[in-house]
C-alpha cells in the first residue's frame, strides 16, 4: 500500500477545466487527495461536482489541465446511481464478483465491514436504498483501494441512514487509511465526517476545514437559505443558554440586545 508516503497525494488535479458547449462546467480546479484524508466536494445542483469526479476518473476528457495519479494507485468507485435492469438475474454475490474474482470469504468480510452481511443472496433489485449504497461500497472495498471516490454516497437514503453512512465512511478511512474523495450536497451531515471541504460552483469558491468553510461568506452566498438554516441549527445547539462576558448566565432579552449592539 502506498499510504505510508504522506507527502505525495494519491491524486492531484492542476488547473483542470472541462467545458460543455463552450462553457466551463469545471473551471480551473486545483485539488489533491492524500492518503488517510477525507475530502468532500459540496456545491449546488449543476455546480459541476459529478463532472469533476468523472474527469478525475478519466471517464470524460478534460479540456485543459493536468491530472496525476500516484503510480499504482487503485481506485474504488461508487457511482451516484445504479439501476440494474429487472431482466438481469443478479444477486449480491454475483454483483460483487463482477469487479474482481474474489473469494466467498472476502465477500462476506467486505459485506460485514459495510454492515450488511445478510444480503449476500439477495437479488440486487430487492435491496433498499441504504443496502444498495453499502453493497456498492463493498464492491469498491473488495478492490482494496488506495483511493475511494464516492459520488453522492447517500443518494436515496433516509436521513438517519445518511448519518450512519457518513459514520461508516469515516470508520473505513480510520481502519484502512485510504484517501476518500466524496461528493455531497448534504451539507450538515457531511461536515462532521470530513477533513477538508471544497465548495464548488464551477470554480472553487472556498476550501478548508469544515467549520471554517461554513463561516465563509462565499459558502453562505452559494448555499443561501439552506446554509443559514444549518448554521442556525448549529448555533441554537451551542447557545441553548446564554452567558454574559464574565460567563454568568443572563436572561434572553439582554442576550438579544447584546447581539444587536455588536451586530
Amino acid at each position: 500500500m502506498i499510504n505510508s508516503e504522506r507527502q505525495t497525494p494519491l491524486i492531484r488535479a492542476e488547473n483542470l477545466t472541462v467545458s460543455r458547449g463552450g462553457q466551463a462546467v469545471v473551471d480551473n480546479i486545483n485539488l489533491t487527495v492524500d492518503a488517510g484524508e477525507i475530502v468532500t466536494l459540496v456545491g449546488p445542483n449543476g455546480a459541476g461536482k459529478s463532472t469533476l469526479i468523472r474527469a478525475l476518473l478519466h471517464l470524460i476528457d478534460s479540456d485543459s489541465g493536468v491530472i496525476e495519479r500516484e503510480p499504482g494507485v487503485t481506485i474504488g468507485y461508487v457511482p451516484q446511481q445504479l439501476e440494474i435492469d429487472p431482466t438481469m438475474p443478479l444477486d449480491v454475490r454475483r454483483f460483487l464478483r463482477l469487479g474482481a474474482l474474489v473469494s466467498l470469504e472476502d465477500m462476506n468480510r467486505a459485506l460485514e465491514e459495510v454492515g450488511v452481511p445478510e444480503v449476500i443472496d439477495t437479488p440486487m433489485q430487492g435491496l433498499s436504498g441504504g443496502e444498495m449504497r453499502r453493497v456498492l461500497l463493498a464492491r469498491a472495498l473488495l478492490r482494496d483501494p488506495d483511493l475511494l471516490v464516492l459520488d453522492e454516497p447517500t443518494a436515496g437514503v433516509d436521513f438517519g441512514g445518511q448519518a450512519e453512512l457518513y459514520e461508516l465512511i469515516r470508520t473505513i478511512r480510520d481502519r484502512r487509511q485510504c484517501g476518500i474523495l466524496l461528493v455531497s450536497h448534504n451539507l450538515h451531515l457531511v461536515m462532521a465526517a470530513t477533513d477538508r471541504v471544497l465548495c464548488l460552483n464551477h470554480h472553487i469558491c472556498c476550501e478548508g476545514q469544515p467549520d471554517a468553510v461554513t463561516r465563509n461568506p462565499a459558502y453562505l452566498e452559494l448555499f443561501g437559505s439552506e446554509a443559514v438554516a444549518s448554521a442556525m441549527a448549529v448555533y441554537t445547539h451551542h447557545h441553548d443558554h446564554h452567558h454574559d462576558l464574565t460567563g454568568a448566565p443572563i436572561d434572553e432579552n439582554d442576550a438579544h440586545h447584546h447581539e444587536h449592539t455588536h451586530g
Binding site: L57, P79, M88, R94, L98, G99, V149
Partner: protein
C-alpha cells in the same frame, strides 16, 4: 426423417446456441430496437454482396457494422432522440435494401427467403458458417463474459475497474452482426430479433444467475426451432414464422402463472 429436415434442425439449434447468450445482453442492455435496426439493414447487405460478387453474408456483416457505427455517432447528437434515429435507419435501410434488390436485374433474388427465412434450403456451407463462426463467437463471448456483464450493469463503474468498454462494445456489435447474418437464413430479416429477444425473455423466469439465463435461452431457442420445424413438417406451415410462433407461445405459457398471480 428427411435429410433436409435434420440439416434445418442443426442450423436452427446452431443459431440458437449463439443467439441465446448474445440475446441476453440485448435484453439486459435494452438494445432490441438497435438489433432490429441492424437486421433490417441486412437486405441492403445482401444486395451489395450480390452486386460486388462476394458472399452475401460478408455483405450483411459489413453493412451492419457501418449502420451500427452510424447509430453510435448520431446518438451523441442532442438534436435527435435515440429511438427516432433507430426508427429512421431501421425503415430507411429496409426500404433502401428493397430498392437495391430491384436493381439486380441479372440475379434472381429470393426476396421472400431473405425476408422470412428459408431454413429448409440450408446448405452444407451454411452449416459450416453457423458452427464455425458460432463456435468462435461463443468462445469470444465466454472470454469477455465478466467484463461485458459488468459494463451492462454499470458502464462507468466497469471502466473505472479497468474493463476495456469501447473495445468490448465493438466486439459485441460484431457478434450481433454475425448472428444476424446467420439467422437470416433461419427466420429471415423481419424476424431475426425474435431469435435474440424471445428465448432470453422466457429464460428469465427460470434463471437465478446471468449464466443460467444464457444457458436456458439456448434450450428455449432450440425447443422453438424443433417445435416450429415439426409444425412445418406435419401441417405444412412456413418454417421460419412457425419457429417464432412457437417461441412466443413458450414465452406466454411460461409467463402465465406469474401474470395470473399478479391479477389475483
Amino acid at each position: 426423417m428427411d435429410d433436409f429436415f435434420l440439416m434445418a434442425l442443426a442450423a436452427g439449434v446452431g443459431v440458437s446456441m449463439v443467439a441465446g447468450p448474445l440475446g441476453c445482453f440485448v435484453v439486459w442492455r435494452r438494445m432490441s430496437y438497435f438489433g432490429a435496426t441492424l437486421s433490417h439493414s441486412a437486405l441492403l447487405g445482401v444486395a451489395l454482396g450480390l452486386l460486388l460478387g462476394i458472399n452475401p453474408m460478408i455483405g450483411v456483416v459489413a453493412t451492419c457494422i457501418v449502420i451500427a457505427a452510424a447509430v453510435f455517432s448520431m446518438e451523441r447528437d442532442p438534436r435527435f432522440a435515440a429511438d427516432t434515429i433507430l426508427g429512421i435507419l431501421a425503415h430507411g435501410m429496409l426500404a433502401l435494401g428493397l430498392v437495391a434488390v430491384a436493381f439486380l436485374d441479372n440475379v434472381r433474388v429470393d426476396l421472400m427467403g431473405y425476408l422470412f427465412g428459408d431454413i429448409l434450403a440450408v446448405s452444407n456451407d451454411d452449416l459450416i458458417w453457423i458452427y464455425g463462426g458460432g463456435a468462435s463467437c461463443l468462445l469470444t463471448l465466454a472470454m469477455m463474459w465478466r467484463g461485458l456483464l459488468s459494463m451492462s450493469v454499470h458502464d462507468e463503474l466497469a471502466r473505472v475497474e479497468g474493463v476495456p468498454v469501447s473495445a468490448m462494445r465493438l466486439v459485441f456489435m460484431l457478434m450481433i452482426a454475425f448472428v444476424i447474418a446467420i439467422a437470416m437464413k433461419i427466420v429471415g430479416i423481419m424476424l431475426i430479433v425474435s431469435m435474440l429477444i424471445i428465448p432470453p425473455a422466457t429464460a428469465r423466469r427460470f434463471a437465478r444467475t446471468p449464466e443460467q439465463m444464457a444457458f436456458y435461452s439456448i434450450v428455449v431457442g432450440s425447443l422453438s426451432v424443433l417445435g416450429g420445424l415439426a409444425a412445418s413438417a406435419t401441417i405444412d406451415t412456413p418454417a421460419g414464422p412457425s419457429i417464432v410462433v412457437v417461441a412466443m407461445v413458450l414465452f406466454f405459457v411460461t409467463a402465465m402463472p406469474g401474470l395470473a398471480q399478479r391479477q389475483a
